[in-house]
C-alpha cells in the first residue's frame, strides 16, 4: 500500500511538473504570438575563432511565421540558426512535449529549466532546453540541438520590448570545432611562423538591438533576395 502511495505521489508530481512546464512554454508562446512583424537596428560583435571581423551595424526585419532578413552595407556574420527558428518551433504546440528539469540561478534570476522535445522526427530540431523566468515569462537562455548544426546556446537580455518577448541583446555561443580551412587556398607567407591565434572551440556572437518597430508592417520587398 505504501509503495502504491509513493508511486502515485511520483506520478502526480511528474504530471504536475509536465503541466507546469507546458504552461510556462504556452505563456511564452502567447507572448511571442503578439508579434506579427518588426524591424530593428542591430549591432553585431562576432568573436569567433578563425574569423577576424570588425563590429557591424545592420537592419533586421522579421515577419511571421519565420521570415527574417538582415540588411547590411558590409559583410555581417550571424548564426545560421537561432534568430527565428526557436519562436517558429514553439508556435506549434502540437509539435512538441515539455518536461520540467528543475530550477537554476541564471544572472540572479531563479529560472525554471524546461526541456522541449519534438514529437515527430521530421523536425531538424532534436531537443530544446529553455531557462525560463517564470515571473516575467521570458526565455533567459536557450539551448537548441539540431541535426544539421549541432548545439547552439543563446542568452537573452530584455528591456522595454519584454512585453513582446523581444530581447535588446542576444549572446550566441557557437561551436566551431567543425571549422576547417581549405589548405590550398589558405597557404600564405607567414603560416609557419605563427600558430593559430585562437584554439578555442567556442565562439560568441553578440547582437544588440535598438529602435524596435513592432507590428507596424514590414514590406515583402525586404525579404526578396
Amino acid at each position: 500500500m505504501k509503495i502504491l502511495f509513493l508511486f502515485s505521489l511520483l506520478f502526480i508530481g511528474q504530471a504536475f511538473y509536465a503541466q507546469n512546464a507546458s504552461q510556462l512554454v504556452k505563456a511564452i508562446r502567447l507572448k511571442l504570438e503578439k508579434v506579427n512583424d518588426y524591424s530593428v537596428d542591430i549591432h553585431i560583435k562576432a568573436q569567433v575563432p578563425m574569423i577576424k571581423i570588425d563590429e557591424v551595424d545592420a537592419k533586421m526585419y522579421f515577419k511571421k511565421p519565420n521570415r527574417i532578413k538582415v540588411e547590411s552595407k558590409g559583410i555581417a556574420i550571424l548564426p545560421k540558426q537561432g534568430m527565428a527558428e526557436l519562436n517558429y518551433f514553439l508556435s506549434d504546440e502540437k509539435a512538441y512535449t515539455c518536461a520540467m528539469n528543475g530550477n537554476k540561478m541564471l544572472n540572479n534570476v531563479n529560472t525554471a529549466v524546461v526541456s522541449v522535445i519534438p514529437l515527430g522526427d521530421q523536425s531538424d530540431i532534436i531537443l530544446v532546453k529553455l531557462w525560463i523566468d517564470p515571473k516575467k515569462e521570458l526565455i533567459m537562455k536557450s539551448q537548441v540541438t539540431t541535426k544539421s548544426n549541432g548545439t547552439l546556446d543563446v542568452t537573452y537580455y530584455y528591456g522595454d520590448q519584454a512585453k513582446y518577448g523581444l530581447p535588446y541583446k542576444m549572446v550566441f555561443t557557437i561551436d566551431v570545432k567543425n571549422f576547417k580551412l581549405p589548405k590550398s587556398v589558405a597557404a600564405d607567407l607567414h603560416q609557419n611562423k605563427k600558430s593559430p591565434s585562437n584554439t578555442s572551440q567556442k565562439g560568441t556572437i553578440i547582437i544588440s538591438m535598438r529602435n524596435y518597430i513592432v507590428n507596424k508592417g514590414v514590406g515583402s520587398s525586404h525579404f526578396k533576395n
Binding site: G74, I77, V176, V185, D188, L189, Q191, K194
Partner: protein
C-alpha cells in the same frame, strides 16, 4: 647620357612584339577570370566558406570587386614573372645575340650606365605591367562586381576587412608586388649579362623561380633555414597587408630581403657586364 640611353631602351622595348605578349596575356587571363567569376563565382566562394556556413551565415555582397582583385592578384602573381622575364631577360643578351651590343658600347657611355639604363627601362616595363594588372583587377573588377567588404582566407582563418579599409592596402600591395617583380627583372638582367642568346636568361630565371618555389613549398625541416632567404618566399608578402592587424615587421623584413636581392642581382649584372668580352 644615362637618361637618353634609357629612352632608347624604352623605344627598343616598345618596338619588340614580345613586349606586348605580357600585356595581352594579362588582359586575356583577367578577362577569363572575370567571366568565370561572373558566371560561377558563388561556387568559388562557397568552397572557402562552406565549413563556416554549417554554423554561420554570411550576409552582404561577398563576391565584390575587392575580392575579385584579390583573387586575380593571388592567381597571377605566380605567372607574371614569366611575362616580365620574357622582356627583361632579353635586354643585354638580346643585343649580344643581334650583334648590336658592340655598336651600343661605342657611344660615350660607361658599361655601368648601360646596365643601369636597361635596369630603369626594365623597371618602367614592370611598372606598366603592374599598373595594367591593377587597372584590370581593381578598377574593372570593381566596375563589374561593385564594391563591398573584402573577405580573405589566411592560414589562420578568415579576415573580413571593411570596404573603406581596403584601398590603402591594395596601394601598398601593388607596391610590394612591383618590388617582387623587380627582383625577377634584376635576376633575369643578371642572367642576361652572362648569356649571348635570349632564351637562356629567360629559361634560367624561370628555372630559379620554380626551384625556389618548390624548396619553399617542401615541408622538410632541412630547408627551414634556407626558406627565409629565398626571394620567392617573400614574393607573396603583399598578402600580409590583408591581415588584421597588419604584420608590419614581417612585411618590412620581406621588403628588405627583396631589396637586398635586387641590389645583389644588379651588382652581379654590372660586375659581369664590365668584365665581359664583347665579341659579337
Amino acid at each position: 647620357m644615362l637618361w637618353k640611353n634609357t629612352y632608347n631602351e624604352l623605344i627598343k622595348i616598345s618596338a619588340k612584339p614580345r613586349s606586348y605578349i605580357g600585356i595581352a596575356a594579362l588582359t586575356l587571363l583577367i578577362a577569363i577570370i572575370l567571366f568565370a567569376m561572373k558566371a560561377d563565382g558563388s561556387k568559388y566562394i562557397s568552397f572557402v566558406t562552406s565549413s563556416f556556413e554549417q554554423t554561420l551565415s554570411f550576409n552582404g555582397n561577398i563576391l565584390n570587386g575587392n575580392l575579385i582583385a584579390f583573387i586575380i592578384l593571388q592567381m597571377l602573381i605566380v605567372h607574371i614573372p614569366l611575362l616580365v622575364a620574357l622582356v627583361t631577360g632579353d635586354l643585354l643578351s638580346g643585343e649580344a645575340a643581334m650583334g648590336t651590343l658592340r655598336m651600343l658600347l661605342t657611344k660615350p657611355i660607361s658599361r655601368k650606365q648601360v646596365v643601369f639604363s636597361k635596369l630603369i627601362a626594365a623597371a618602367v616595363y614592370t611598372l606598366i605591367l603592374v599598373l595594367w594588372l591593377g587597372f584590370l583587377a581593381f578598377i574593372v573588377g570593381r566596375w563589374v562586381f561593385g564594391t563591398g567588404d573584402l573577405i580573405v582566407l589566411n592560414s589562420d582563418g578568415l579576415v573580413i576587412l571593411k570596404n573603406a579599409d581596403v584601398l590603402w592596402r591594395y596601394g601598398l600591395a601593388f607596391l610590394v608586388a612591383f618590388l617582387a617583380l623587380m627582383t625577377i627583372s634584376t635576376l633575369s638582367l643578371a642572367f642576361s649579362a652572362f648569356a649571348n642568346n635570349s632564351i637562356g636568361p629567360i629559361v634560367s630565371t624561370m628555372a630559379v623561380i620554380i626551384l625556389f618555389t618548390i624548396i619553399g613549398a617542401l615541408d622538410v625541416s632541412v630547408f627551414d633555414h634556407v626558406k627565409p632567404w629565398l626571394f620567392t618566399t617573400h614574393m607573396a608578402s603583399w598578402r600580409s597587408l590583408f591581415n588584421n592587424p597588419v604584420p608590419w615587421s614581417d612585411i618590412k623584413e620581406s621588403v628588405w630581403i627583396l631589396l637586398a636581392h635586387n641590389v645583389l642581382f644588379v651588382t652581379i649584372a654590372v660586375y659581369k657586364f664590365q668584365k665581359k668580352d664583347i665579341t659579337s
